[in-house]
């Protein structure tokens, strides 16, 4: 069906996939199409921000001893001080991008640590994204006043399997699921014991983290989330070339290959 769709559209454009995803994300029967479209879109997006690096070709690391390797600090120094050829600032010539990175994550090093670790922690398929939040409700206001207090943050986001960064109502969906399960559980409890006096204990303690996330960083429905950068953390992208223990090495290579110029240009204007 995806093939039919794309054929009818004439060319496989990223925007086509995107419209597909946004159109059918809540439709049950079209879920498979959305999944494939989302995967394709994510992959295209991830490749579009890469440019290749001057590192050596990967050697397949053998033996689990490589897991015990001491962390390599030589690169971090390069991130902090502009010695590296792939330094963010020198590449982009975009001071605002660096400033926003620093204001969102503390420093570029911190951003790198968070980003790389988030990606390396994905155990199945998935992508790690750098996304920018844009308040669309305040867009008008900002264009009028051009004030600085509307400066939004960047976030690091993981999507799993064919998840798409464009579907923002994840927490809503989680809440719906939790409510459903809660109701089922309560029904069961009433069946089992007709104890009216027993207080209903919140069953989904495990949901707390997501609940907390909702409370602390409530997803603004009006806000728009614009992806800037994606890294593919799925095993299929690194397993063949880097071996079973090579994810770390793969991620380092990817970091060196990121085209920061492209990434910085994706930054929405309202954020600047």
């Amino acid at each position: 069906m995806l093939n039919n769709f794309t054929r009818s559209q004439g060319n496989t454009n990223d925007n086509n996939y995107l419209s597909l995803i946004q159109q059918f994300s809540n439709t049950v029967t079209k879920r498979d199409v959305v999944n494939y479209a989302s995967l394709l879109y994510n992959l295209n997006f991830a490749f579009s921000s890469l440019k290749g690096c001057d590192r050596e070709l990967p050697k397949i690391l053998r033996g689990s001893e490589s897991l015990l390797q001491i962390p390599d600090f030589s690169q971090d120094m390069d991130v902090a001080h502009s010695k590296n050829s792939n330094n963010i600032l020198s590449q982009t010539n975009n001071d605002t991008f660096c400033k926003i990175l620093e204001s969102s994550f503390g420093s570029i090093e911190e951003f790198k640590t968070l980003f790389m670790n988030s990606c390396s922690a994905i155990s199945g398929d998935g992508f790690t994204w750098l996304i920018a939040k844009r308040n669309s409700s305040n867009m008008m206001m900002e264009s009028l006043t051009n004030s600085k207090n509307n400066l939004d943050k960047l976030f690091v986001l993981n999507t799993y399997n064919a998840g798409s960064p464009y579907i923002n109502d994840r927490l809503e969906m989680m809440k719906m699921l939790a409510n459903k399960a809660n109701k089922m559980q309560e029904g069961k409890m009433e069946m089992e014991t007709d104890d009216v006096n027993s207080e209903k204990v919140p069953i989904f303690e495990g949901m707390m983290s997501v609940e907390e996330a909702r409370e602390t960083h409530s997803v603004d429905v009006k806000a728009q989330y614009v992806p800037l950068l994606a890294i593919d953390g799925s095993p299929k992208s690194w397993l063949m070339d880097y071996g079973v223990f090579g994810k770390e090495q793969y991620l380092n290579h990817v970091w060196d290959s990121i085209d920061w110029y492209v990434v910085a240009n994706r930054l929405p204007k309202s954020v600047e």
Binding site: N117, S120, S123, R170, A178
Partner: protein, 261 residues
């Protein structure tokens, strides 16, 4: 007084009993005490040199060259300084390890590392780790890893001083700790996104149980305080409750028997 030898010659006597047939079975402690026999030297010998510092304890310490804590120079020895205490010579010297200083420094700087759960009983643990890397297969990453790694670096890296080695080990530790934390968080998030629902943690379970007891106690406490208030106030006031006042107006106040009907 005669030197008491009975207790010390326990092994000899027991083996004599055993060979003569007085004792049938060897006691459980026999092999242990035989391999580590009690000392038979009872004379206290003065330890002239301190083994940790290698300094001679009998050496007269002349403080006259240094400024004392009042900021003054000492020009003349007082009574205490001139007294040569022989007691000191018999005291066992303090054992000082570098590891202990590193440990206390690390846990002073990272007090929450102490709150991490730790396995205390490890009977079959091989302690001979290779500290050329901070992570070990059979040991979880903790403050001790930092200490041991620091010692390894001090020993094996030429021209590295104590602080540099400690900082290097510490940064390696931070890196791995961040990695662990994020991977735990991401794993949880991933599982929740796929629809898994977790059980309560033991902490949450404990708090929930506690909360039940607290709620019961609260009810009881409210009741009792109400009772106390009633008792302490005027008895005639207490029976004339504001909402009952209209109904029982006809009744004379201070007669509880009537209200009870």
């Amino acid at each position: 007084m005669k030197i008491q030898t009975n207790a010390v010659n326990l092994v000899e006597r027991t083996s004599a009993y055993l060979s003569s047939g007085l004792l049938q079975n060897t006691p459980a402690w026999y092999d242990v005490v035989a391999s580590i026999p009690p000392t038979k030297k009872f004379t206290r010998e003065p330890k002239i040199t301190n083994p940790t510092t290698g300094r001679n304890k009998t050496f007269f310490k002349d403080d006259r060259i240094r400024v004392n804590n009042k900021g003054l120079y000492k020009t003349r020895m007082n009574q205490m300084d001139r007294k040569d205490s022989a007691n000191n010579l018999y005291k066992p010297p303090k054992l000082i390890y570098l590891e202990d200083r590193l440990r206390s420094l690390f846990f002073e700087q990272h007090p929450w590392e102490l709150s991490r759960p730790k396995i205390l009983i490890e009977n079959s643990l091989e302690e001979n780790f290779d500290w050329s890397h901070i992570q070990q297969w059979e040991k979880q990453l903790d403050g001790e890893s930092v200490v041991q790694r620091t010692l390894y670096l001090l020993k094996n890296e030429p021209g590295i001083n104590m602080l540099q080695a400690y900082n290097k080990a510490r940064f390696e530790f931070y890196r791995l700790r961040i990695q662990q934390d994020i991977s735990q968080q991401v794993a949880q998030e991933e599982a929740e996104m796929f629809g898994s629902i977790f059980r309560q943690t033991s902490f949450e379970h404990g708090i929930e149980k506690e909360q039940k007891v607290i709620e019961q106690w609260k009810k009881k406490a409210i009741q009792e305080t109400q009772l106390m208030e009633v008792r302490s106030s005027n008895p005639s006031d207490s029976w004339a409750a504001p909402e009952e006042q209209d109904l029982e107006e006809d009744f004379t106040e201070g007669e509880p028997e009537i209200l009870d009907i």
